[in-house]
């Protein structure tokens, strides 16, 4: 069938594109990480996926930025290698805000690499005895080189694991579709009493459970990297675990009857009931608690700012590919169940 080919094609595409497309150039860290106001300081910028030597040093502009209008620009930019560049800054004698210290962002504008940013790169402490003459507003950040190419965003904290977006998130989309299909077949079974509908419902539930477990595992791997621990009792982790418990209970319920027909009927009823309680579990309860997930407070999914256009090109095909793959597995499992029932003489 055409959709099976499509599923295989989309998944191969999602794996190849998701794994091979490079990240945008970014700044890994700046050293030293603290300075005093009024000081002349030389900083080293360490890049990731950068190609600094591709452009002459005088065309590279570097800022330490406080906000849209207040920034200091570097002079004396020296290229050390493709991934390191040093620059000297004359920090003004007063801080842009009257606090003991401020955090400044580092911005590098490169004609070839484009612009890269490191939030809170360096801490500047106030020094009341300083007598520098430079100001914060002399060289605002402007005329940046926005490079349009095929690359994924460079994000601090997650770095290369941003690729997990194409494998972790589609699991939940697929899970919901599988459970939805299972509920539809359970409703049909209650109306028709046709054992084939019950087998389809079982097949879809099993595949949904599989996606849930895979989503949990990929999520735990990601959490291990980004949050420092595989399991941190995040509300979504807990609710997912509960959702999986509901469906494990479904399988226990099926097997606790002597007559298969009775088990099928009550399991279908429970399936409809369980799916309806899954919705508050996944969409209402997480809103009441803080979560480590992106777009956490008040929203069950992540926000639009978490994806850029290149990511969308991989993300949406991956979702479709995994949903079709799930349907494919469910179909095979359905056939397997049918043969089992025929051999046992139930149907």
């Amino acid at each position: 069938m055409w959709w099976k080919t499509l599923s295989a094609f989309l998944l191969v595409y999602a794996i190849i594109a998701g794994m091979l497309i490079p990240l945008k150039p970014g700044i890994a860290y700046v050293s030293p990480q603290s300075a005093k106001s009024g000081q002349q300081i030389s900083l080293q910028f360490h890049g990731y996926n950068t190609y600094y030597t591709a452009a002459p040093a005088e065309n590279i502009r570097i800022w330490l930025q406080y906000d849209a209008t207040q920034a200091v620009m570097a002079h004396d930019v020296t290229l050390l290698s493709d991934t390191t560049v040093s620059a000297t800054f004359d920090l003004p004698s007063s801080l842009p805000r009257t606090t003991p210290s401020v955090m400044l962002n580092a911005i590098i504008d490169h004609p070839v690499d484009g612009v890269s940013l490191l939030p809170s790169a360096i801490e500047v402490r106030a020094d009341t005895s300083a007598t520098a003459t430079t100001t914060w507003t002399a060289h605002p950040v402007d005329q940046l080189h926005i490079v349009k190419d095929v690359s994924f965003p460079y994000r601090n904290v997650i770095y290369e694991t941003i690729r997990n977006t194409y494998y972790h998130v589609p699991m939940w989309f697929s899970l919901l579709i599988m459970f939805l299909a299972s509920v539809v077949y359970s409703v049909r079974y209650l109306r028709s009493q046709n054992p084939a509908d019950d087998r389809r419902a079982v097949a879809f539930t099993e595949v949904g459970l599989l996606f849930g477990i895979m989503g949990l595992i990929t999520g735990m791997m990601w959490a291990h990297f980004a949050w420092g621990a595989a399991w941190s009792n995040d509300i979504k982790q807990l609710m997912t675990a509960v959702a999986l418990l509901i469906y494990l209970a479904y399988f226990i319920l099926r097997t606790s009857f002597d007559e298969p027909e009775k088990g099928a009927r009550l399991a279908a009823v429970y399936n409809i009931f369980a799916f309806s309680s899954l919705i508050p579990l996944l969409y209402i309860v997480p809103r009441m608690f803080a979560s480590l997930h992106p777009g956490a407070t008040g929203s069950p999914a992540f926000g639009s700012q978490d994806l850029d256009n290149t990511m969308r090109l991989v993300f949406y095909p991956a979702i479709l590919g995994f949903i079709l793959l799930g349907t494919w597995i469910a179909q095979l499992r359905y056939r397997h169940l049918t043969i089992q029932d025929k051999v046992l003489g139930i149907d």
Partner: protein
Amino acid sequence: MTSDPSSLTQTVLPLAFGKIFQKLMQSLQLFFVLLRKEFVIEFRQRYAISGIVLYVFSMVFVVYIASIKVQPQVWNILFWLIILFASINAVVKSFVQESGSRQLYYYQLINPTVLILSKIVYNTVLLLVLSILSYGAYSLVAGNPVKDLQLFGLVILLASVGFGIAFTFIASIAAKANNSATLMAILSFPVILPILLTLVRLSAIALRLIQDTAYKHDIVNLLAIDVILLTLTFLLFPFIWKD
């Protein structure tokens, strides 16, 4: 009263409405008969209700022995755990206590919707009484940190309704299986969790453990869950009860 007998609208419509009204009244009458039956059975087999009450009191007593001074946070969680397990034990018997042949008798006579409604209402009342009793006993031994009694009363009422609906439905499924007590716990725990979490949160507000002026959202959520569960129960129970 003078009316034109040839007019269609004046004779047929009241007749149709009258029929629906009659049917509704019959259902209502049946509902009260069934509800009365539940109370009568409970009253005659006093061991069930006294068992549950004793269960609650022993749980409360365990709390008392284990820790004399209970912090409000712990008080809140322990209270809801006591209510949860007492409710499961109270409701699980509602379908098991009547024999299979009597169920068959009901099956021939009664509309299933009326039957499940009477069980839900009965269980809700039972759980409400049980919760109030537990609250009294619990605050006697473990202190009473409730600051907003009005809200706390509302939470207990909402809890009884939510638990009443969910547990009655789950009990009707579990009663059909061989290992109904185990199944009851397995099936109801995940389903009840959203309700329970919201309840704990609301009662924490009543205890002034957390400040939240927008708790009306939570109440609306809870009511929405109740409505969903009730609708599902009405739709699905006819498929459960026939054998």
